[in-house]
Symmetry: C2
Subunit: 126 residues, 2 copies
C-alpha cells in the first residue's frame, strides 16, 4: 500500500510565498517595508539597488499579493507600497500550521528491514 499523502491544501500556496520571500534582496525590501519604507526611491537609497530592479522585486511581491501599491494623491509620480496585512496574517497562519513542531509524528514503519514489525529498540532513532 503506497503512502496516503495529504499535504495541507495550502502547501502549494505556501511554497509560492516562500519562493517569493526567499530571494535575499526581496526579503531585504520586505524588511524595509516592515519598517515603514515605502517608495522606490527610498528603497534604492537604503539598498543601493537600481530602481528598475527594485520595481521588478516590488512587482513580484505585489503579484504574490504580499504588498499593495497606490499613488500619491498630490503628486501622482510617487508610488507608495505597503505590506498587505491580511496576506501577512494568512502567511503566518499557513506557516505556523505547517511548521508546527506538534505536527511531527513518530516514525512510519512501512519500509526498512523489518516492515511493520520493526523492533522497538530502534524507535529511539527518531
Amino acid at each position: 500500500m503506497p503512502n496516503t499523502i495529504s499535504p495541507p491544501t495550502n502547501l502549494q500556496r505556501l511554497a509560492e510565498w516562500l519562493k517569493v520571500l526567499a530571494e535575499p534582496n526581496r526579503l531585504l525590501i520586505f524588511n524595509l517595508m516592515m519598517e515603514g519604507v515605502q517608495c522606490n526611491c527610498e528603497l534604492g537609497d537604503g539598498l543601493q539597488m537600481a530602481p528598475n530592479l527594485i520595481s521588478h522585486h516590488l512587482r513580484v511581491l505585489r503579484e504574490a499579493g504580499l504588498i499593495d501599491v497606490e499613488r500619491d494623491a498630490l503628486d501622482a509620480r510617487w508610488m507608495y507600497y505597503s505590506i498587505n496585512l491580511q496576506a501577512l496574517e494568512e502567511l503566518n497562519q499557513a506557516w505556523s500550521s505547517f511548521f508546527d513542531p506538534q505536527r511531527i509524528k513518530p516514525r512510519r514503519l512501512t519500509c526498512g528491514p523489518h516492515g511493520e514489525f520493526i523492533r522497538l529498540d530502534l524507535e529511539e532513532a527518531r
Copy 2:
C-alpha cells in the same frame, strides 16, 4: 540622511532557510518527514521522484541543518532521516520575529512630494 538600516541579525540565515524550503519538491519532502516518513525509498513511493533526486534534496535539507540522518542499526543500507527539532524551533523563532505584524511601523516620511511634512490625510495610505 540615508536610511539607517538594521535588519535582524538572523535575516541572512532566515533567507537561506527560506531558500531551501521554497523549493516545492523539498517542501513536499519536508512535509512527509513531518508525518514520519523517513527513508529515501519511502519518499520515492509517495512522491514519484527518482531516488537520486531525493538524495539531492535530502542533502540540501541536511546541509541547511534542518534534518538529521542515521543508518539502521540492523541493516545499515537503510538511512533514516528526521527533522531536527532544535533547528525547527530556531526557524520558527526567526520567522515569527521577522514576520510579526506588530513590527510594522507607520510610514516613514523621508521621501515624497512633502518631505517630512506630508499632510496627515494621506496617512490612511498605510
